[in-house]
Symmetry: D2
């Protein structure tokens, strides 16, 4: 594969201002892989860091965002034999410093040297360059081969899947026969529904407000879909469970109302997983939480090699991420991609940018 | 439902000697359920305790074996509202003393007051009367409702399923994308294959010697079936995994050769689950085990409410236990049932006794 | 030991109204122990349920509160051989129903049949009679022998210790070399300091407002004591830890300010244990919690046999609960005992009632 | 600190043949630390790899063994700010590749790219040069500052302590009130005694054959010391525990007899930790293991940052490793050091080599 000297890339040049520029194609280091990006999905984190730079983010004019991508291996560093040029791959975002107390025990998504590239930390699309570009460099540990039949668009969502799986692993992940309530019908909620079902949950409830997406949730395995504008989440669950509650509540809406409900609907000894994150302070019933001996878990990224696990699920056809890809745009129309994502235009769930295509679908 | 005063029951009257007698129908205590037994499967534990009485086993002439059964609720104790007369149910074997250090933290299958009925311990078919009879008494905590469409024969294998699930829970149970090698193509091996696949294992290997049962394993989800008379288990796995080994090895053959292989085939940090148990001392490579930082888990019965979880899988049609029921016999032919089980006649996997039928299939 | 037919007992006759009456001495059932109560400590839960009855609480006029007590075995049920008449014992509060999904796996303090005595649940001093009386009946599983040299007053605090230990076990309990911040200098906070130190925490911070109790904390092992009226908890911790935070935060103050701080002071991947419980909703920074991949644990009572563990620590002289007993009163002065507890009179930490003494100290 | 161009080092020149030579002083890479070695302890692993080279071991004539050492920071790589020149430090052995499935989740002592230095793996004294030299290079993640008052000889045993702590963490590490039986009175056994006691074990049994070392064990906290030439381990434990067994058995003798006993002495649901490793196959009662629902854990090195935890215990004066250092030798007498270790001359427990001293003690 011939790698051109320069490439098109979406550079963040100021707050909420992206410009597609021709920049130098990056070169992989000895432990790295150069990836020809085929698909890079838009994430709400992108929106957030484009508005207010995150810690460790490179300065305006020198930073390419985008952390959910897939593509083809274009070159490999001299120590890399895990993948070869031409391999189709999905990625993880995070490579930790390998030397802080968190990285040392495998919590690389929560590296304590976050943003310190000198010490080895990288979070592509956050603290180092990402995938809204024709090429990107990844540490080999963040690269996973995907089968031919998995579309690049679907594969660009592997970080979403890895994030949800990491959440399930965090609270134990053994849920056969349990009841799971998922709050929020966005990408993480819809993936949570699938993961809960495949792991053997008996009944999966999906709460949301968008009827169309709730229907997607039903197709993906939700046993009950509930419009929260017509039903109070907590009342609904208590009615369904004889007043006891579910074993697992997953908050994936990012709303304060969702969070408040998530804390109250588990039964005593139940667990709460936060995938969505409300901004600012949230008023929550800690008395209910504590009296019920409940525990609460969070995720930061796609930890503990759960992208590896997620890729396996794709390989096994056990999850369907393609149903979540509702829009694609060429890199030249990245502004439209972001607008579609932010305003949830036309039923948008996930919007994917295609750096090498002239036109999207 | 009218409960007759007496019932037919298979009474252990001496070593390996069972007699079908007419005995008094038992009455449930306040926390108990009287079950009209429809199906009771033969287990190798039955064979063992009929040969040499187990600790806590009632004396010859007063003991009815059989611990894998299902049936219909015929009467309930005065505190029981969890099930009603006429409900179809599957059971667990163990109700612990509720007062020893193990029971207190939920390890009721390993009750330290085993066999001490005065202190509350019961293991039906082991230390208290079991299901090779037309009626049996169970503590309410060991009774689970099953859906109409699940056949009683299939439901009698819930303890097997619960035992396998307990094993998976014991070592963590989160195996998405992992490789699992199952050694032994008997009931526990065939169930392990199904559970490993449903929990997302990427590749499941099944090792055995009976071509027909290996084929059943393939139908139930095994990705590779291997005849160990033609392949060395360890060599096969090392070839398949570039010399590294699988994440999980499950020993379900009860043979020393199986055990020896199970210890060597996991990769470093891998896990071994023992479902089968060899008699006597077994020569094992502990150097390999320890150098590989492997850990080894065992099960004693169907602990931690995994029968509840197993019933849920039946309800969800996520496992198929009916494929394992190869033979049924009326209670009057229980000797034939045991012979078929012990000698594995006619491809026997699980043999079920029907206390209320005149003829088997 | 001669057990009198009647005994003095503090009966809850109305909201916040207790009367010491002569009532019938209870008799132990077959699995029970009759305890001659020597010491029964006042707990804030007593104050709460005397104000507004808790679920499952017996009606006014028929209920004796008090759940933290110790005494001498006065009689045993016919199946009991674990203890003998004359043994000195401490107790647990909870005996679960043994049949719900929580009890079945050992979570008896969170029994789903809470208050349903018919189904077997008991929480002495909450849903069944307690220890503000000369005699009380306990299920044998909730009784632990104590050595001669442990004073009954100290032993009455074993439930407090069991509760703290349960909390540590809940989040893993392996903290060698970690930094632990304890918020709240009441009984649970002071016990947490001791447990954290004995388990090998490197630095234990104790935050509070009562200088005298903070000094007690120092004596019991706190490396740093901090007056929160002069220091902001979060700022203090960040200054001490180079802006990273502690591995473990324990909230034992029950205040919203304490809770808010507890969520922010752990480092990424850190853990929060709630021992105190604020009333009503609490405004908490969930963004910080989730972005830091922190997890949050709660306790309900003294679960998982941690009273057994706690008694062992007393036996080993590894903790000192006697330092927490600041006041004792005879049963006749139980109103004074409660007033001393509620108003924290005279530096009160724990106030103990002595059912068989004429005068307190 | 001036670092000389050459240094004295013990080079493995053939099977069981070491020569002290003057070689080039190594230079640290950007993430490394150069350590002036003050103390390097002899380990049985050294004896093993000097006899038969381990996987990944450099060829004769180019390899310096020694993996248990401490010293002073002599130089730091350009990204290192965690330690400074002149700091006193202890070390870990292992730095993993950071890219295999084990390293990625923090199991760096079980790196699947073991011995592949190109991919980043290092195990100093095993696959890369070690501490039987005046200087050695360590990755910064394997270096821990020690307090002034901890002697270098004691600090050289931090890897032993880290190994034992890793073992405890592996099986959960929460053992308050439990009974622990330690088999083997060598360094790992004696450290296990201390760790078990500090974590709150109620009774710690130490089994061995060397009366003097058993007495050291008593000084270090063992409640009972037992000469296995006069007592059968299993019989002794069963007598002590009313036939039930201990909660935790730790095998630290490396003998087959020890291993056999370790499997049988835990009570049902008990745990076995293997620190010692027998050579070849070992005959073990797996029937007992499985029927008792026991689980078995192993360690490979000082994983999961337990050297950090161990250094904290030294800082807190919670363990005493100095009691284990019985002999020291200058580097020039390394042959004597090995002989003393191998033949356990003169009550040898741990033998330490001093690269910068002219004479030992």
């Amino acid at each position: 594969m011939t790698v051109p000297k320069t490439m098109a890339a979406a550079v963040l040049v100021g707050p909420e201002t992206i410009e597609v520029r021709e920049v130098k194609t990056p070169a992989p280091g000895p432990e790295d892989v150069l990836i020809r990006v085929e698909s890079c999905a838009v994430c709400s984190s992108d929106v957030s860091l484009m508005k207010n730079p995150w810690p460790g983010q490179p300065p305006y004019g020198s930073f390419i965002p985008g952390h959910e991508y897939s593509g083809e291996v274009a070159a490999v560093g001299k120590t890399v034999d895990e993948v070869s040029i031409g391999d189709r791959v999905a990625v993880e975002v995070h490579f930790g410093c390998t030397r802080c107390d968190n990285c040392r025990v495998g919590h690389y998504t929560a590296c304590l040297n976050w943003g310190d590239e000198k010490k080895g930390h990288r979070a592509n699309g956050m603290t180092t360059n990402g995938g809204f570009a024709q090429y990107v460099v990844n540490h080999i540990s963040t690269v996973h081969r995907i089968p031919d039949r998995v579309h690049y668009d679907e594969a660009s969502l592997v970080t979403n899947l890895g994030c949800v799986l990491y959440g399930f692993e965090t609270f134990g992940g053994y849920i056969i026969g349990d009841r799971v309530a998922v709050i929020g019908e966005g990408p993480l909620g819809l993936i949570s529904v699938q993961v809960a079902k495949l792991l053997g949950a008996e009944t999966v409830y999906l709460f949301g407000i968008d009827e169309k997406k709730l229907q997607v949730g039903k197709t993906l395995g939700a046993d009950r879909i509930v419009d929260v504008r017509q039903n109070d989440t907590a009342e609904y669950i208590m009615r369904e469970t004889n007043g006891r509650g579910v074993e697992i509540a997953i908050e994936a809406s990012g709303s304060k109302a969702g969070l408040r409900a998530a804390v109250t609907i588990p039964r005593w000894m139940g667990k709460i997983l936060l995938l969505g994150i409300p901004e600012g302070l949230a008023d929550v019933d800690f008395h209910n939480l504590a009296r019920g001996n409940k525990s609460l878990y969070t995720v930061r990224g796609e930890g503990w090699t759960n992208c590896r696990r997620g890729v396996s699920l794709l390989r096994q056809k056990r999850v369907d991420l393609s149903a979540l890809v509702t829009h694609t745009f060429p890199l030249s129309r990245i502004d439209d991609a972001f607008r579609t994502h932010i305003e949830k235009l036309d039923g948008a769930i996930k919007v994917v940018v295609k750096p090498h295509e002239k036109t999207g679908v």
